[in-house]
């Protein structure tokens, strides 16, 4: 996540965009919850049930609610935790996505060019992810180029193709060239974005805190489908859309969602300092233990009513709520599913 560019980039008027129609970053209707299909035991592709759609809408709403000096905290109790954090985070992630192709390449060129020679970088070129070692800049035919060594030869990249160049985290393995987005079609149809751009920049769109093994089952093991206007279907996984750092297919993939174990003793420094747009607490353990972090982010607290520690989680939520500024009106999301209990409140950002 080092070198992440979008960690705090939530400024801009687009944050108050309504829930339907065009949302920030170029996402167009229909929205992901309308496009995604789940697979029945008979292999049929069905539209998402209302509870799943509500969770995507909730994630989007919390991500887009930007009231100066305040943050929104929403608690939801549900009959099961399965897929709840995954769909909520999908709503967040899709809402805050900003296409790197729309960023100013000159600014990024200058940022990267200012780094010391030898810095490892990675970048997208067409359908592939490349890695290299920075060697400075050079003007070729009057055009500024970034120079890097790809392990075999010295290469040059013109400044206007530098949107996606990022520093490669030293902990990531150096792979010279490999395909960028294996489920590109699924991502494109589900999110309505350029899947290669989506996969070419590291960002912290959302932080999920829960039991990694359970989240992995929801995100990586369960196939979903997206229908095209022509009626054909393609399959993929929610992790293709969320790009979680804990469930990377390849060692140096770009991530968009961070996953942290609720039981962790030590929060990594890169996350302590970060201000993710939304933190999704999947279960009471992480909420009870880690709620002193990310006090500048909005939160969604998901509590499975069958979970052993749910009473402690609900008590903590109620206590925070009693000290809050005011309750939040979530009516814009429509009536919550009968199986849910939903409450929200605003807090002053310290």
């Amino acid at each position: 996540m080092a070198g992440a560019r979008n960690v705090n980039n939530l400024g801009g008027s687009s944050r108050n965009t309504p829930l339907t129609g065009r949302v920030p970053g170029g996402l167009a209707t229909p929205l992901p919850e309308d496009r995604l299909r789940y697979l029945t035991r008979d292999g049929l592709a069905e539209t998402l049930p209302p509870w799943a759609s509500y969770l995507v809408r909730l994630g989007r709403h919390v991500a887009l609610q930007r009231v100066p000096g305040r943050r929104l905290v929403v608690g939801v109790t549900l009959p099961t935790r399965d897929f709840a954090a995954a769909f909520t985070s999908l709503g967040v992630s899709a809402a805050v996505y900003e296409d790197p192709e729309e960023q100013d390449p000159r600014l990024n060129f200058e940022r990267i060019a200012s780094l010391p020679q030898g810095t490892s970088i990675r970048f997208r070129r067409q359908r592939f992810l490349y890695a290299g070692s920075l060697r400075g800049t050079k003007t070729i035919n009057g055009v500024d180029h970034l120079q890097y060594f790809d392990g075999q030869s010295l290469c040059s990249l013109p400044w206007h193709k530098c949107n996606s160049v990022e520093v490669l985290d030293p902990s990531k393995s150096f792979v010279r060239r490999r395909p960028l987005a294996p489920n590109a079609d699924f991502v494109s149809r589900a999110l309505g974005v350029d899947p290669l751009s989506h996969a070419s920049v590291t960002s912290l769109d959302c932080l999920m805190i829960g039991v990694k093994e359970l989240l992995c089952s929801d995100l990586v093991d369960e196939p979903f489908a997206v229908a095209s206007p022509a009626g054909s279907k393609c399959h993929g996984f929610l992790n293709d859309l969320l790009r979680c750092d804990a469930f990377e297919t390849n060692a140096n993939d770009h991530d968009r969602t961070a996953v942290l174990a609720g039981s962790t003793d030590e929060v990594p420094e890169r996350l302590v300092q970060a201000v993710p747009p939304v933190v999704v607490f999947d279960g009471p353990q992480g909420f009870v233990r880690l709620r002193n972090y990310w006090l500048r982010s909005s939160w969604i607290v998901l509590l499975d009513r069958t979970s052993p520690g749910v009473a402690a989680g609900a008590d903590a939520f109620n206590q925070e709520r009693s000290l809050s500024l005011e309750d939040a009106d979530l009516g814009v999301l429509g009536v919550p599913p009968e199986a849910f209990e939903v409450h929200g409140y605003y807090e002053v950002i310290q």
Binding site: P79, D82, F83, E213, E222, F224, S307, E338, E341
Partner: protein, 508 residues
């Protein structure tokens, strides 16, 4: 297709209805009435230990009867033995107490003796009748009785396709047509109604016990309680003063009695550090103390359900909570099993490394004893250690800090600067061996878990595993059922040691 199963759970949650059916039994009514009268004689007065034992056994007996849809004369209920036990207790109590109280207690014993001869089973008959109207392949009986095996056998004869389940199995259910619950709803988790796993839920219990609804909402100010609530029959018997409140005979834990039992256990007598600890009740009538401070971890099983791959993950002991399945050594030694296996992996060098570990622990404890915890912590911070976490450092199981420079500062501080590199390297060898030992044990335990029936483990709350070729002895994957409300402090050698607790000692 897990998602389809989840979607089905939501459909069930939306459609579920809950009802209550009560059953009459004159003999149960007499016992309930006598217990109520006896408890009224004591009122709110504190009772002495002998009466407390008598009342605890009485309540437990009544609870078992109300939770068990079998004939009271069934040998598993051991009512005759209970009658003898209570008579004997009463014989000791007779000379010292108010005769009317003793006479009332005698009536309770007589009622139990009468029940011990009764082969009628109106409770079981009603349970069976309800199940016979439900879908035979999508029904279950939920019980909270200790007589799981006997009830399962009884039900299997009458309804071979309807399993008997425990409350721990309920969250994993994907959705039944009918769930019959033996006992008042107050005794079961609220999620039975707030996150229902069956379209029809029917609570069945004796009419001499009064049930009370539990709140199903968790977030304050909820305008609409989630899930379903119990609808009662149009014509239902009105409860009277003779009835027993379900809360009065609900299972309670005497944590003080458990703590006293733990304190009376034999000690190693070594130079042990006193550490904060939490007391847990485990499935099968066992208890254990686990570290309450930062640092120590314990293996916890996740994904323990049919069709999934159970995994072990290290969790801080302080975050262990009811419902977790933890790994403890139940035979062949006590306490944490990892150091023993790690030492076996290291061979002869282990002894020297352990001596160095003891050396620096002892030096640190001495420094703290001389200068106070706060002062040492402050001075270490001033020397450049960002987070000294002294309690963890003093814990005999901790090895070394993450940052080598922190460790070197600490060694200089406690007067072992001349050996700091040697100790750092030794602790590194131990850390590597602990890691390898943990990985090896986890891998083999996971293999055993994979080849075991997860439903059986969830039902019994325990799986014993012997890992051949290791020094771990017998390890038990065991469910945590309750956690004491207050922390305590005790010596390290008392930690992670399972001990048996007799129900009469602590169970109200």
């Amino acid at each position: 297709m897990r998602f389809a199963g989840t979607a089905h759970r939501y459909e069930i949650a939306q459609r579920a209805t809950a009802t209550r059916e009560t059953v009459s039994s004159p003999l149960i009514r007499v016992l309930a009435n006598q217990i109520r009268k006896l408890s009224r004689q004591f009122g709110d007065d504190e009772v002495d230990a002998e009466w407390a034992t008598f009342l605890r056994r009485l309540r437990r007996t009544m609870r078992e009867l109300v939770a068990t849809p079998l004939s009271p004369a069934t040998p598993a209920l051991r009512l005759e033995e209970t009658g003898d036990y209570l008579s004997e207790l009463l014989r000791h109590l007779t000379p010292a107490y108010d005769p009317s109280t003793v006479a009332q207690a005698s009536l309770c014993v007589t009622a139990i003796r009468d029940l011990s001869q009764s082969w009628e089973n109106p409770f079981g008959d009603l349970v069976s009748e309800i199940l016979s109207t439900a879908s035979p392949t999508s029904s279950a009986l939920l019980i909270k009785s200790p007589h799981l095996e006997e009830i399962s056998r009884w039900l299997a004869d009458l309804h071979p396709n309807a399993p008997t389940i425990t409350e721990f199995e309920v969250p994993k259910l994907h959705g039944l047509d009918c769930l019959v619950v033996a006992g008042p709803s107050l005794w079961f988790p609220a999620h039975l109604l707030s996150a229902p796993r069956a379209e029809t839920i029917c609570f069945v219990h004796y009419d001499s016990v009064t049930d009370r609804p539990q709140p199903t909402h968790l977030l304050g100010g909820s305008h609409r309680p989630p899930g379903t609530s119990i609808r009662t029959a149009a014509i239902e018997r009105t409860s009277t003063d003779d009835d027993l409140d379900a809360g009065f005979i609900a299972s309670t834990v005497d944590w003080d009695a458990l703590a006293r039992l733990a304190a009376s256990r034999p000690r190693s007598g070594g130079d042990e550090e006193a550490v904060p600890a939490n007391l847990f009740l485990l499935a099968g009538g066992f208890a254990v103390y686990l570290e309450a401070g930062d640092g120590p971890r314990i293996d916890v099983v996740s994904e323990l359900e049919r069709g999934s791959k159970p995994r072990l993950r290290g969790e801080p002991t302080r975050t262990v909570e009811p419902g977790n399945y933890i790994v403890l050594r139940s035979e062949g030694g006590s306490g944490d099993y990892i150091p023993g296996i790690a030492d076996a992996l290291l061979g002869k060098s282990a002894k020297e490394h352990r001596e160095l570990q003891r050396l620096w622990k002892s030096a640190l404890r001495k420094a703290v004893a001389e200068r106070s915890n706060a002062r040492v912590e402050r001075e270490l911070k001033a020397l450049g250690i960002r987070s000294p976490n002294l309690r963890y450092r003093m814990w005999s199981g901790s090895l070394r800090s993450e940052r080598p420079e922190d460790f070197r500062i600490l060694m200089d501080y406690i007067g072992l600067g001349d050996q700091k590199d040697r100790i750092w390297n030794a602790m590194g060898h131990l850390a590597d061996a602990h890691l390898r030992a943990g990985q090896e044990v986890r891998k083999r335990l996971e293999e055993k878990l994979l080849s075991s029936d997860p439903d059986a483990i969830i039902r019994s709350g325990r799986l014993d595993v012997r890992l051949d070729g290791t020094d771990a002895g017998t390890l038990s994957v065991v469910r945590v059922e309750r956690r004491a409300p207050d922390q305590t402090t005790l010596d390290e050698d008392q930690l992670r040691v399972m001990f048996k607790v007799e129900a009469d000692l602590w169970q109200g």
